[in-house]
Structure formats: C-alpha cells, structure tokens
C-alpha cells in the first residue's frame, strides 16, 4: 500500500466509524471490569499461588561482581545439606541447554547460568533445587565460588574507548551496534535555519517494577518428553519456540501455560531467563520446580530494565518558531546483553517528530555494552524517552525566541486536514485533530489562569511552575522496528497477529478463547466482553473468557506497544462475524425469513420489525449442536469460529532505509498541563493542578482508559522525580530495595482531571487506537518543564532525570 492510496480510504472509513459510533450499544461504556471480583477476593492465582504435587523450589546464587572470571565452584557443602535435591552450575547449562534468545546483532551470547565469566552484578552463577525455598536459599549460602576479578566497564563512554576491557571478547568491541539514519536534507536545513538549540540530555535507567516479580513453574514428563512451564510471561505464544530452543526440545513439546501477572509494564514482555530456569531445572531433577524472583533479584537481574541514554540533540527553526530539522546523536548503555537489539530506538523513530511538522531528521545510535544488567522493555519502549528529548528541545526553542510554550507548539502542530500524515521516517500517523486536543487542554488545564497565578506567586517569592507538553502515542507495532536497522537481517518478522476463538456452547453461553497471555493489570476480558456484547447484544458479564496454552494457541503476540485492545478487537470481531453468519443461516431456516431481515438483539435473533419472531442464542445453539436435521442441509454442526487478525497497515522499508515504511501507524495524541509549587528549602514538590486530554480514537471503556492514563502518568512521575538504578564504580547496584529505589506513594502524586477527544482510526476495528503507554510519554517532560519554570529565578535548565529533591535544594541554594 502506498501513501498515495491512503487518503480517500481514510476519509470513507472515518465517516463510517463516526456514523457507527452513534449506534453502539456496549462499546464506549464505563463498565465495571469482569476481571475484578477474583482479584478483590484474593483469588488472582498469580504464579506464586500455584503449587504442583511434589513441587520443589529453586534459588539462585548471583554474582557479587560486575566482571569476573569464574575460577571454581565448590558445591559440596550445599549438596550435603538435608533437603537439597540438586545443585546446578554453568557446566550443567553448557551440557544441557542452548543460549538464551536474542534479537540483537553480533556474537553476544547469553547463557542461563554464566559459563566461564560473569558480565554483570547479579548474573546467575549457580542454582539450587530443594524441598522448599528456605532450604534452597540456605544452600546458596554454602556454595563457594572463586572469582578472578576483571576490570569492569561501567561508563558507556569509557566502554567505547580504545583498549577498554571487553564485555564480550568474541565481539571484539563494546559497541554492539552503530548506525546513522538520515531522512530528508538535514545538513541543508540546519545551515539555512536562522535559529537552533542544542542540548545534551540524560535519561537514566529505571524499570517497570511490577509488584509481582517474574516467576515460573516447570514440569517435565519423561514419558512424553514434554516440558510444561507455567509463567507470568506476556508474549509466550509469539516466542515460545525460542524458549524451546534454549531448552533443546522441539517447540511442540513445550507447553507454556499463561498465568495472571501482577503487573508488567514491560518487565514481563517475553521473559526468557525465568521460564527457561524453571523448565531446565524441572527437566534435570525430574519433578516440578518453582522459581520466583525475590525483589532484590528482580532489581539486580530482571529481564528488562528501561533505556539508559545520553543524547546530544539539536533542533533547527525559523524566527517565527517554525521547526525545520532535528539532529540526534544517542549513546545507549545496554548493559551486558542485547536481547531486544535496538528495537527501542526503532520504536522511537515511529514518532520521532512528535506531533510537529518537522521535515528533516537525522538519528545516530551508538548501542554500547557495559557490565550492567541488560535492557529490555519499559512502558513506552523508547518512544517515551525520545518524546522527553523532543519536548525539552521545544521548550528550549520557545525560550530562545521568548515565545509562549503553547504558541510555539501550536504553530508546528500537524493540521487536521493533513492526515494520514507521512513522517520523515516513513511511518504514518493515521488520523488526528491535534488542535482540538490543544483547545480542550487549555480549558481543562486553565492555562491562562495558572499563568497569572504563577506570576503572582513568583512576585511573592514563591516557586510555582507550569509544565505544558504535547505527545503523540503510536500504537500497534508491526515488529519492523527490530530489523530495519540491518541491511540484510537474518529474518524479517512483519507479522504480529492476534487470534481469538469464539464458541457458543449448547446452552447459548459465549466462550472466547484468547491466544496470548494478556492479563497483567489491563482489561482483556472486559474488552473482549464489550466487543462480544456489541456484536451479539448480550450482557457482557455473561461472556466467558479463557486463555489457550502454547500448544493450543493460534498465532498471537500478546500485549506490548499498546497493541492489544486494537488487535484482540479485530480478532474477536472476525470470529464473531463468522459465527453470526452461521446463526443467521440457521435462524432464517427456522424462522422462514431472509438472513438480511434478521437482527441480533437481547441475546437472540429476531426478524426486524417483528420482535416476536425470535430465537434465543440458546435455542439456536442447541439446534446447532444436537439437532443436525433441523439445520439447513449445507450447514455443519457446532457454533464456533476462530479468527487471526493481522496488522492492518504495514509496509516494507525501502532497501536504502531512507523510508522505514509504515510500522506504527495508529497514533493517538495528548496534552498535559501540570502546575507545581516547590519548597526550595526542602525540595518538596506539591501539585496545584494536573490536567490531561487524550485522543485514543474510539474509547472502548472510559473508566479503564482513565486508569491506564493515570497509572502511566504516575509511572512517568516516578521516572521524572525518583527512579534510577544506581551503579557504583565497581558495577554493583547500590539501591537493591524499595527504601533506596523509591516508587511513587499515594502522598507523592496529583489528582488528575482527564478528558477525551475521539478521532477514530480509519484502519482499525471500531476506530480504536492503543492507549496503554500515553501517560508515561508525557510526565517526564511536564515535570521537567514545570520545575524549570518554578526555578526560573535561578536560571535552572533541566537536562537530566530524575530531578531529586536534593537537586532542587542545591540549585536554589547555589544561585
């Protein structure tokens, strides 16, 4: 599909979506979540709540050094401890397991347990399986590991230097990957532009930090050779075959059973270490083995910490504030391994120009390895970082021109008649009305009032500041972002499908089976119930939602990149359409009416205009299952369908990568206004006001969408003010518990007011756009701007996160 073909189709689809929106019965309602009762009763069945008969427990010995050669391991004392079943080291892994999966370039091999050398503090060096966790941990203390210390590489700039110690000798360098993409005439634009701002910006490593850590239970059946793994991993159907590869078993012999996750935010996006541990140990000892991370383990070695970036970025613009070009150079400290490759930068390239008409972009990436834990996914997957970088530059440009921060943004917003809008990288923004959102936020955020209040407060010597920030929110990835970095990728996944099976059982009950684990605090069952209710006009609370295991699953990808609501709605709508068609054929046969004259109403089918000529779904279903001879002659028994929904709008990157193709096209838009007051004696920050307006296309459930927006916003607040993994010079994590890694508490956060605008996507089912990450795309920039504004008398420029209370006090005291 070329961009030229898009506009007409877009207009038609938008009109249809708007017309349909007025007729909806269930989509768009603030229904209670159907998931809630079991969690409210404490019956959530998280991974640590599950026990298998005869189950053993594992604990893991972790490296106290960031970089060291393993000289010897003495396991004899541990093995002698009563209750210990088996002690496992790298030698066992070398013999019985293949390396862990990686999407990165180069020979960067990651093993389940370190073989020969450890590359980060907290890396596994041995594991114990014992009759209970207490004994397993006792045994870990009895294992004696002799290390030969190697110089650690902690700073990514040192790591790039000639002669730096190598994290992976086989790679021959610590620079895992480098590439510069140029879109448009960047140098010319910078030369011609009369103005520019330039800044070095620092985004620190933090993490999703769910309350429920990563965990898994492995079970091995020696008779069939099958390994079953119960895990709170998110993307097991997409990637389970890679886990089977690590376990060295055929993919068909691995059954991953989905388990509800007590939060993920990226931390459980394709878990690899924990499930492989459980499966590997179960296979070795021949009995079920549970391994659940404790908090310290999660902090020092969970699969996924967020981005860890140093930017050197500049924005060129005209005297009237028109943005021309963006030039970005980024060093990203990936830690010791490169599981997701450079995907988090690919992600950012989907909306690197934000909501603005910037024509020329250059993006240079240096992906560097150091002796730290690896990076993975965190809500935003890199786009939240580039958004903060861009909004910082925009604020600097406004200051340079002495122009209002809203005004400079307004002048550069993409106009409503420019959609679908092709960005310089090749990705498109499907639809939008950014000016509409802006008008709403100025009203909801009471911008003018707060400007006056701030000025008054400042005159009184108080420190009040306003942050006003815009963001796009790309949703529904097509996976291109992982491979367009390479001219000759080994493989080019561009499918990221989602499936649903829909069955109406003989009693008329609708059962939907989902094919990826997707219960992590979002609302998959509520979404599915609302879509089913919309299609069949049944009570959403009556819909049963189940989850397939990996052996029974159809193609699925799972949540991530704000894709799930869009994709599962497409899958459910597809399966529903097929079942509805069959119902119509049966009903028209039995009611002696044309299928076109039938409508789905109140749990049944009736002839339009004659509600008494009606069959309930139960009557139709019973006939479909039990009374074959009552059906039309060419209709088979049963009432079920399955549907696989593919990404509806993806194009292939050009060979020279001057066009990355369409890869993240359903793009929401949001503005936040935050007003803060600082106590510069203590650094305490108080919110005076916080308003958000989001446009996520058609809203499925306003109540749950608000939950996602607030939750994301507060996670962004954590990133902005508190959260950072602190590594010392030796590469040890200094903040291993929650008293030193502070998460926002109920006392730290604002009460938000939220409004929505709905600009339906022309390309997605019902016009839905994803919206799970938006909040976190804004708060870091809102708070940077608000605190900078509050400290205006001191001339503070905020270029580094987090912004600590100590820092605020220091700034105020030193100027």
């Amino acid at each position: 599909m070329s961009i030229e073909q898009l506009p007409a189709a877009a207009r038609i689809a938008t009109e249809t979506a708007l017309e349909e929106a007025g007729k909806r019965r269930w989509l768009g309602k603030s229904l209670n979540r159907v998931e809630d009762p079991r969690f409210l009763r404490g019956e959530g069945r998280y991974i640590d709540d599950i026990s298998l008969p005869g189950m053993a427990h594992a604990a893991i010995v972790r490296s106290p050094h960031a970089h060291a050669r393993i000289v010897s391991i003495d396991t004899s004392k541990a093995e002698a401890l009563p209750g210990v079943i088996r002690v496992v080291t790298g030698a066992d892994v070398q013999e019985h397991a293949a390396p862990l999966p990686s999407f990165g370039a180069g020979p960067i091999v990651q093993d389940l347990i370190a073989i020969e050398k450890v590359r980060h503090f907290g890396e596994a060096v041995a594991a114990v399986v014992a009759e209970n966790r207490y004994v397993a941990e006792d045994a870990c203390d009895l294992i004696e590991v002799e290390y030969e210390l190697l110089p650690p590489v902690i700073d990514p700039f040192d790591a790039r230097a000639e002669g730096a110690p190598l994290v992976h000798e086989a790679l021959g360098t610590n620079v895992a990957y480098e590439r510069t993409f140029t879109f448009g005439e960047v140098d010319e634009a910078f030369e011609e532009a009369p103005r520019k701002v330039q800044s070095k910006l620092r985004w620190p490593r933090s993490t999703g930090m769910p309350m429920d850590t990563n965990g898994a239970i492995g079970d091995y059946d020696p008779g069939t050779g099958e390994v079953t793994i119960y895990a709170n991993s998110m993307n097991f159907t997409y990637f389970h075959w890679l886990l089977a590869g690590s376990l060295q078993i055929p993919a068909g012999k691995l059954k991953v059973v989905p388990v509800a996750a007590g939060g993920s935010f990226g931390s459980k996006f394709f878990m690899h270490k924990v499930p492989v541990f459980a499966g590997f140990l179960a296979k070795l000892v021949g009995k079920p083995v549970k391994y659940v991370e404790d908090r310290v383990t999660h902090i020092v070695s969970n699969d996924h910490a967020g981005s860890d970036r140093w930017y050197d970025a500049e924005l060129a613009f005209d005297d009237d504030g028109t943005f021309r070009a963006l030039r970005i150079d980024c060093v990203d400290d990936y830690g010791a391994y490169l599981q997701f490759g450079t995907g988090t930068h690919g992600n950012g390239l989907s909306q690197i120009v934000g909501p603005y008409r910037i024509q020329h972009v250059q993006y240079a990436l240096h992906a560097v390895l150091t002796n730290k834990n690896q990076q993975g996914a965190y809500r935003g997957f890199g786009a939240e970082v580039s958004n903060w970088m861009l909004e910082r530059l925009v604020d600097m440009a406004a200051r340079e021109l002495d122009m209002d921060r809203v005004e400079i943004r307004r002048r550069n917003l993409i106009a409503a008649d420019q959609f679908p809008y092709r960005t310089p990288t090749g990705n498109i923004y499907d639809s939008g009305n950014y000016q509409g959102v802006l008008e709403k936020i100025l009203e909801l955020g009471e911008y003018e009032k707060w400007v006056a209040e701030r000025d008054k407060a400042r005159a009184e010597g108080r420190h009040v500041g306003i942050g006003v920030v815009a963001s796009n929110e790309r949703s529904v990835f097509s996976s291109t972002e992982f491979w367009f970095w390479f001219d000759q990728p080994e493989f080019t996944p561009t499918a990221s499908p989602e499936s649903a099976s829909l069955q109406i059982d003989p009693t008329g009950q609708i059962v939907v089976t989902l094919h990826s684990q997707c219960l992590w605090g979002n609302s998959p069952e509520t979404v599915v119930s609302q879509v089913v209710a919309e299609e069949f006009d049944v009570d959403p609370a009556s819909v049963v939602v189940t989850y397939a295991d990996s052996q029974h699953a159809l193609p699925g990808t799972g949540p991530g990149g704000s894709r799930f609501t869009v994709m599962v709605s497409g899958a459910v709508a597809g399966a529903a359409a097929e079942v509805k068609e069959k119902i119509k054929r049966i009903a028209s046969h039995k009611l002696e009416a044309s299928g076109e004259d039938l409508e789905f109403r109140e749990g049944g089918v009736n002839v339009v205009g004659s509600p008494e000529r009606k069959l309930s779904l139960a009557e139709i279903a019973l006939a479909a299952y039990m009374f074959r001879l009552d059906l039309p002659p060419d209709v088979d028994s049963g009432l079920a369908a399955q549907s696989t929904y593919d990404h509806p709008l993806t194009t292939v990157p050009s060979d020279d990568r001057s066009d990355l193709g369409i890869f993240y096209p359903f793009v929401g838009h949001a503005w936040h206004i935050g007003v803060v007051e600082l106590d510069v004696e203590t650094g305490k920050l108080e919110f005076l006001h916080y308003a958000a307006v989001h446009d996520a296309g058609t809203v499925v459930n306003p109540k749950t969408l608000n939950g996602q927006i607030i939750g994301g916003t507060i996670q962004g607040l954590g990133t902005a003010l508190y959260e950072e993994y602190l590594y010392d010079d030796e590469g040890r994590v200094r903040n291993q518990v929650f008293d030193t890694y502070h998460l926002p508490s109920s006392m730290d956060v604002p009460t938000m007011t939220i409004e929505h605008q709905e600009t339906p996507s022309p390309y997605t089912p019902y016009g839905i756009k994803g919206a799970g990450e938006g909040g976190r795309m804004l708060t870091p920039a809102v708070l940077s701007a608000a605190i900078e504004d509050a400290l205006e008398p001191y001339g503070v420029r905020i270029t580094t996160l987090p912004i600590s209370a100590e820092q605020i006090v220091e700034w105020a005291a030193s100027r």
Partner: protein, 158 residues
C-alpha cells in the same frame, strides 16, 4: 532449626494450632500452611505493604513478623471480606465501581488497610487523610487516584 514451636492463632474467625519453625514468617505461614494466597509478597523488606494483614484490627506487614509472634492474636486476611457465596463487601464493590485495581496484586493489602481506616475514622472523606492512611501500601498500576475515590465513596456512605 528443626525445633518447632506451637502456634495458636485465630485467622478469619477460625482457631488454628500448628507446629512452626521459629524462622517461619507470618506471611509464609498464612500462604503456605493455611493456603491463604490473598496474602501477597512483593518486597519482603517491609516497604511496599503488599503483605499487610490485620492483626487485632491493625494493618501489619506479615513479611516482617514471624508466625510465632502472632501467637494468641486474631488475624484477618482478604479472604475474610467477601460473603460466604463470594459476594463482595461494600469496600470491594466500591473498588470495582471506581476501577481502583488493575493487576490486583496490592489490592488485598489496600482493602485491609482501608478497612482499618474506615473503622477507626468513620465518615472521614478528606482526601489527604485517606492518602496518608494508604501511603504504606505501594500500588504500581493505578496512581492511587481511583483507590482514594473508592474509599471516599464508602466513607461518604454512597
């Protein structure tokens, strides 16, 4: 380590007598010995409050208490809140109406902590008071706003 002590404790209205290792935490006792899986462990250092249970009516971190320290006390866990047929109580219902939970992992502790607050401060709807009352329980999903609203609605008798 193998010597055990006799623990007598009332949990959710039922009396128990068990032999326990001195080092067994109250959280592990409730989860593993009594099967009360609504007690959740998230940090095991006493910071996050996910493991809060009510000990003689007061919210206490069960990861920081040994089981034997509960000897002679009366405990309530989240499993005590719903009716015999699983009917949600007023606070649980309010949590659902206000979307005060997402992943649900902190929810049992949040409910028990709020139950204590509502009992000790009947009718108190002040946002700040409620925020302070629940400040010892970390929620990573909700940003707390809808939790505060749910508790307010119960306090106001809505």
């Amino acid at each position: 380590m193998t010597a055990t002590l006799t623990l007598r404790v009332e949990v959710n209205g039922r009396a128990y007598e068990r032999e326990v290792e001195p080092r067994l935490t109250l959280a592990d006792f409730l989860r593993e010995d009594l099967g009360l899986k609504g007690v959740h462990l998230a940090c095991e250092h006493g910071f996050c409050g996910s493991c809060n249970v009510l000990v003689d009516g007061e919210a206490v971190r069960s990861c920081l208490m040994f089981a034997i320290q509960a000897h002679g006390r009366s405990l309530l866990t989240v499993e005590s809140l719903a009716g015999p047929g699983g009917e949600l109580n007023e606070l649980q219902q309010a949590f659902m109406e206000h979307h005060a939970l997402q992943c649900g992992f902190c929810t049992p502790a949040m409910l028990l902590t709020a139950e204590e607050f509502l009992r000790v401060h009947p009718g108190e709807t002040d946002e700040r008071a409620i925020r302070e009352a629940i400040s010892g329980v970390t929620c990573r999903c909700t940003g707390y706003q809808q939790i505060v609203e749910a508790i307010q609605s119960v306090a106001a008798g809505e």
